[in-house]
Every structure is written in structure tokens, then in C-alpha cells.
């Protein structure tokens, strides 16, 4: 894959990254997600609190969890609702968001600790809040790998 940076002073203030490919391969999708992760602070998720529509920065999100009626979006102090389905969001969210159970996705940048549990779901603590999420055994390995990747990258 070629990587090329074109500098053009006539271009506007907002940089644009275009990926040219003949097919939507896994590598391209991964690259797109990685790039989305870098600019995630600019991305907003449309959420609701009662009748109010809010545009929430992805960095603020701790985890997302499906309920039978809505998708709950947890921040450190609030719970918002979103209209989208969890699997649809999973495809679109940056790589910092990892599936932790059949019904939840967590933002690993906000994870403070993972209390591993051999017999049941592992408890996830987040920075700056008492809220907990639970990673099921099926998804724990994936979560730990992602956390490990993040640690090595640092």
C-alpha cells in the first residue's frame, strides 16, 4: 500500500484523507477505523436525554449497552440513549471501542482496571467514575489483547 502526502496551500483549513482502493478489503477497513480513531475527538454521537438531543464526544463515552428498548450510552456521570443498534455502531466506531459482551461495547481509553473472573464476567472499572461494566468470557481475550496493544504502543 502506498502512502502519499500531498501538500497544497490552496487547500482549505480542514485536512482530508482519501483512501483509494479497488475493493473494500479488511486492511482498508482497519485503516479507516484507525484514522477514525485519531480524529475521534471530532466525532460526535447523537444521543438523547429525555427530549433533548445532544452530540456527545466519543472520548466521553465509557461504554454502550443495549437494553430491550434502547441503546444506553454511559459517560462518567450520565446515561444517554441512542437510537442506533449496537452492531451498527461497532462497525463505525474507532478501534478504541471494543466489544466486551453480546450486549456491550467499551471505550478502552477510559478503562482503569479489569478484574478478571474465571467463573463469570470480568469487572471493568473506568477512570473517574464508580460505574462498572462486565466483560463476558467470550470477549475477554479480545479486550485484553487490545489493552495490551495499547500498552505496547505507548
Amino acid at each position: 500500500m502506498k502512502i502519499r502526502v500531498e501538500i497544497d496551500p490552496s487547500y482549505g483549513n480542514e485536512e482530508e484523507v482519501v483512501i483509494r482502493c479497488n475493493a473494500l478489503s479488511e486492511e482498508v477497513m482497519m485503516l479507516q477505523k484507525q484514522l477514525s480513531g485519531i480524529v475521534s475527538d471530532k466525532l460526535k454521537l447523537e444521543v438523547y436525554k429525555g427530549d433533548t438531543v445532544l452530540y456527545l464526544s466519543l472520548d466521553e463515552i465509557l461504554f454502550l449497552e443495549t437494553t430491550e428498548y434502547f441503546l444506553a450510552v454511559h459517560t462518567a456521570k450520565e446515561i444517554y440513549t441512542a437510537k442506533e443498534r449496537l452492531y451498527a455502531l461497532e462497525e463505525l466506531l474507532p478501534t478504541s471501542f471494543v466489544r466486551i459482551s453480546k450486549s456491550a461495547i467499551a471505550n478502552i481509553t477510559n478503562i482503569r482496571s479489569v478484574k478478571r473472573n474465571i467463573t463469570g464476567p470480568s469487572e471493568i472499572e473506568f477512570n473517574g467514575t464508580v460505574k462498572r461494566a462486565y466483560a463476558s468470557r467470550n470477549y475477554l481475550k479480545q479486550l485484553m489483547n487490545r489493552l495490551e496493544e495499547k500498552r505496547i504502543n505507548k
Binding site: V17, L43, Y48, T66, E84, Y87
Partner: protein
């Protein structure tokens, strides 16, 4: 329906096991014993569901004594004595853990959530495959709700409902026997929340809840599982706890303002864990 399937499944397993055991002539199985085993399994399941130690342990004792009564260890105690001992054990456990034969879903409640057997009950269970629109690149490739711009509410076919939670009413009862149950409470005037958890993991959020100056009651009864209750920190909190061999923990701080509405909690915990979070 699922409980019936499980009972039927256990019955088949019991018959299969009985046939194998019979081939090895460990015990002499008769058709009567097989039928009694199936009935006993059904009673045990029912006992576990209703957290009734008597209904759980007595059939086990009966069937074990009947099947393995020829063994020297078991033959030393007669069936009535074994049943008597089991009844004492069940009575002791009931007193310690606080289990009782609850009528699930009974009571005058506005909203009653019940999760008996589902391993991930109460969840949406949306494990399907998403579309490929994420790979289209740029903001145009993202749907409206993920774009870095403010726009009108997008209405498309993928929405499961209008996203607005319904009001659960003043009196909410949540029952969970096994598996995981997560509930987000929404009430314009909450008076009472009753959580009854057996072996599972029950998580309750006071999400969009208003409690007036008269306060609200929180009653938690937990057997062997775990109950997590998230309460906003702007409420006062008072707790009366009755703990067996488990643990009751409070994380974070509730309001110290004497004018803040009071949440009066009564926590009855057996061998599980109850966590109250403020935040």
C-alpha cells in the same frame, strides 16, 4: 417454556445416565426409579427457581436414598431420618439466606421485570452483522449520528423504536433468578423499587428518576448472586442491612443535604454481593 425444555432435557439425561449405570450394575434401576428421578429433577428445578431450599433439597435426598440406599454409608440412615435431617438443613439455610417461596410477579406493582432463566435476559441480543457503510471514507461515509456536525434527527428503518424510555411508574419490582438482568429505571415519581435476585447478576440504574420530598424505598433481596444499584449522588441514602455470609458495599458518596430526597434502603443479602454506587 425454556424451563420446561430444561426439565425435559434433564429428564432425558437422567434416563440416559440410569441406563448406563444399570449396564454397569452399580445400582439396580427400575422404571419406577427412573420416573421418580425425573419427577425429583423437576422439583429441584422448581425449588431453585423459587429459591425454596425445602423443595430443592428434599427431592435430592429422597432420590439419592432410593437409588443408592444399598450402599453401606447411606443404608445406616433410614429414609425418614434422612428427610428429617434434610428438612433441618433446608430450614437452617432458609433462615440464614432468607430464601422463601416467592410468587414471582405477584404484588401490586406498576412495572414488574422478571428474568428467570435467560442467560442474558433483558438484553437486546443484537448480535447480527452490520452494514459495510463504515468503509466508505470521510464524513459522507458516516451516518448522521456519527458526523461531526449538528443536524436534524435522522429517521431510518434501522431504529428499533423512538429511543424514548417509557415511564416505569411509582412502584417497580425487578425479579432475577439466573443470568444477567440490566434495568434502567424511569419514573416521574418513584416510591418503591423492589429487587429480588437469586443466583444471577442484576444491575439497576436509577437512570431518569424523580423522587419527591417524601423519599423512596429501595428493597433488595439477594441470595447467591450479585446486585449492583446505581443511584444519583444528589439523593440522601439510609440503609438497613441484613447480611449473611456475603458482602454489602457502598461506593461513592450520597448527598448530605438534609433537604435532599431520601432513599431508604433495606438490603437483605444471603451469600451474594450487593453493591450500591453513587455516581
Amino acid at each position: 417454556m425454556k424451563a420446561k425444555r430444561i426439565i425435559a432435557g434433564i429428564g432425558l439425561l437422567a434416563i440416559a445416565g440410569a441406563i448406563v449405570i444399570n449396564r454397569f450394575t452399580v445400582i439396580n434401576f427400575s422404571i419406577v426409579n427412573i420416573i421418580l428421578s425425573v419427577i425429583a429433577c423437576g422439583l429441584v428445578i422448581t425449588g431453585l427457581r423459587s429459591r425454596n431450599f425445602f423443595l430443592t433439597l428434599l427431592p435430592i435426598t429422597f432420590i439419592v436414598h432410593r437409588l443408592f440406599g444399598n450402599y453401606s454409608i447411606i443404608s445406616k440412615i433410614s429414609l425418614p431420618s434422612a428427610m428429617g435431617v434434610t428438612a433441618l438443613v433446608a430450614g437452617g439455610l432458609t433462615l440464614i439466606v432468607g430464601g422463601k417461596n416467592r410468587r414471582i410477579g405477584s404484588g401490586n406493582t406498576d412495572r414488574c421485570y422478571i428474568n428467570d432463566w435467560s442467560p442474558s435476559g433483558g438484553q437486546g441480543g443484537q448480535g447480527g452483522q452490520g452494514g459495510g457503510q463504515g468503509g466508505q471514507g470521510g464524513k459522507e461515509g458516516l451516518p448522521g449520528f456519527l458526523r461531526g456536525e449538528v443536524g436534524p434527527v435522522q429517521e431510518d428503518g434501522s431504529m428499533q423504536n423512538n429511543g424514548t424510555p417509557t415511564d416505569d411508574g411509582e412502584d417497580i419490582k425487578i425479579t432475577n433468578s439466573f443470568g444477567k438482568l440490566t434495568r434502567y429505571l424511569h419514573s416521574e415519581n418513584l416510591k418503591r423499587v423492589k429487587i429480588d435476585n437469586g443466583f444471577g447478576n442484576c444491575i439497576v440504574y436509577y437512570d431518569n428518576v424523580y423522587v419527591d420530598e417524601n423519599g423512596s424505598r429501595l428493597e433488595v433481596s439477594n441470595g447467591f448472586g450479585q446486585v449492583n444499584v446505581y443511584i444519583p449522588p444528589f439523593y440522601r441514602f439510609r440503609m438497613k442491612q441484613d447480611n449473611g455470609f456475603g458482602s454489602i458495599n457502598v461506593f461513592g458518596n450520597s448527598s448530605m443535604d438534609p433537604n435532599a430526597p431520601l432513599i431508604d434502603a433495606k438490603i437483605d443479602n444471603g451469600m451474594g454481593k450487593v453493591n450500591i454506587y453513587f455516581g
